[in-house]
Amino acid sequence: MIRVRGLTKRFGTTTVLDDIDLDIADGERVVVIGPSGTGKSTLLRCLNFLDRPEAGLIEIGSVAVDAARAGRRDILALRRATAFVFQNYALFANRTAKQNIMEALVTVQGRPKAEAEARAMEVLAETGLADKADSYPAALSGGQQQRVGIGRAMAIGADLMLFDEPTSALDPEWVGEVLDLMRRVAEQLQTMLIVTHEMSFAREIADRILFMEGGRIVEQGTPEQVLGAPKDERLQRFLRRVG
């Protein structure tokens, strides 16, 4: 269960997240849509303190953090309860595909190396990249890198997986394989919060869609409600534009 109350983030005098409330049930798949610059990515980045929110309560699994008072331990606990998939993949450049997945298991979770390696190979098999286990990121295509990025996040066994526009940096030819992998993650009943511009993917995978504008959640509901019968005028305009 994920509970967010009053999450607020400012950059200087600009309020990027304005008092956000959000509940996500276990296994729920929530997709965030909206025009760029409306705080979608910042929402994800504030949930694991890649950007530090000014105020708000964040509860993820057994971790509860008051943003205004969060110390180093709180932040580490939140980060360990979440897994993040980056737009630009952000694989560790000095680690092979397999080592990228093992890193969190060994260094952060303290699991034995052999066990971590077995888990990494399992995950690589799921991502269809078992043959690339010993390749460094620089030798992989964008699509392959992002699949390793998702694998790295899957292996952690996090309460919440955050996807920050995972296909936006990809050449069109690689988008399909990454979305396929995300479908497979969804089948495992993983709780997911996804920022994406892939509307048909959102319609297909989401239990709920949030429409954000101006740092607020303006409208939310099932894909049928939000995409099929949008109420808010800004949402209607946005949907007309993305077609």
Binding site: L76, R79, R80, F84, F86
Partner: protein, 224 residues
């Protein structure tokens, strides 16, 4: 103009080569210590520990801002007069200390620049999986910074080897000190110093070959 005494020069080669181990010992020990110290200083400069920052800046400023020879004299001749436990300090130890601190100051700046050169996404990825600051530095950032800094650091090591010759001013008989002694016995200064110059040169050339190998090794992960 007289002819070079080639027989004397050839005879001198093995004598001076006998001191290569001491020279390399000082250079390697000082390099390892300087690398560790410089990494700590560089990390501090990047993450800015409150209360420590000004000390690090002062340290770097002093050891970059004063000549190595002055620092060596300060350690060997000066410090024992004011710090009791240093009265027994020998020339080799003082030289290693001086070289370590002096080169650490330079290398810290090179490593700091290299750390800044590591893509920000690497930090974020490390944070996102819940690494502590020190895990991130040790496992992700510093290894990548090492690749960026490697050519510069090898240059400092080369400079370090040559700078060990200053230890002879502290009474250490290393390559330079030995040559000086030999030359003052034979009066063949040109021959003697030419021999030692060539030996330093050869050592540095061998290292430069090693540098290429090192860069290939460190670059392996980044090859397409």
């Amino acid at each position: 103009m007289r002819a070079l005494d080639l027989d004397y020069m050839l005879g001198l080669v093995p004598v001076i080569l006998g001191y290569v181990p001491l020279t390399m010992f000082m250079a390697v020990v000082a390099m390892v210590c300087a690398l560790i110290l410089a990494s700590l200083l560089a990390v501090e400069r990047v993450v800015r520990v409150p209360g420590l920052d000004w000390l690090v800046i002062l340290f770097i400023s002093f050891f970059r801002g004063t000549p190595l020879l002055v620092q060596l004299f300060l350690f060997y001749y000066g410090l024992p007069q004011v710090v009791a436990f240093l009265t027994q300090i020998n020339g080799v130890t003082a030289a290693i200390m001086g070289l370590t601190l002096h080169f650490a100051a330079y290398m810290a700046e090179a490593i700091r620049a290299a750390i800044s050169g590591v893509d920000r996404s690497q930090w974020e990825a490390a944070h996102s999986i819940g690494m502590t600051q020190s895990q991130m530095m040790r496992r992700i950032v510093l290894p990548q910074a090492a690749r960026i800094a490697a050519p510069t650091l090898v240059n400092y090591f080369i400079d370090m080897i040559k700078s060990t010759s200053l230890a002879f001013t502290l009474g250490v008989t290393e390559m330079m000190g030995a040559t000086q002694k030999e030359a003052s016995g034979s009066f063949l200064y040109f021959e003697a110093f030419l021999v030692v110059a060539v030996i330093y040169w050869v050592i540095v050339e061998v290292l430069s070959q090693g540098q290429k190998q090192l860069e290939i090794r460190l670059g392996r992960a980044f090859a397409r």
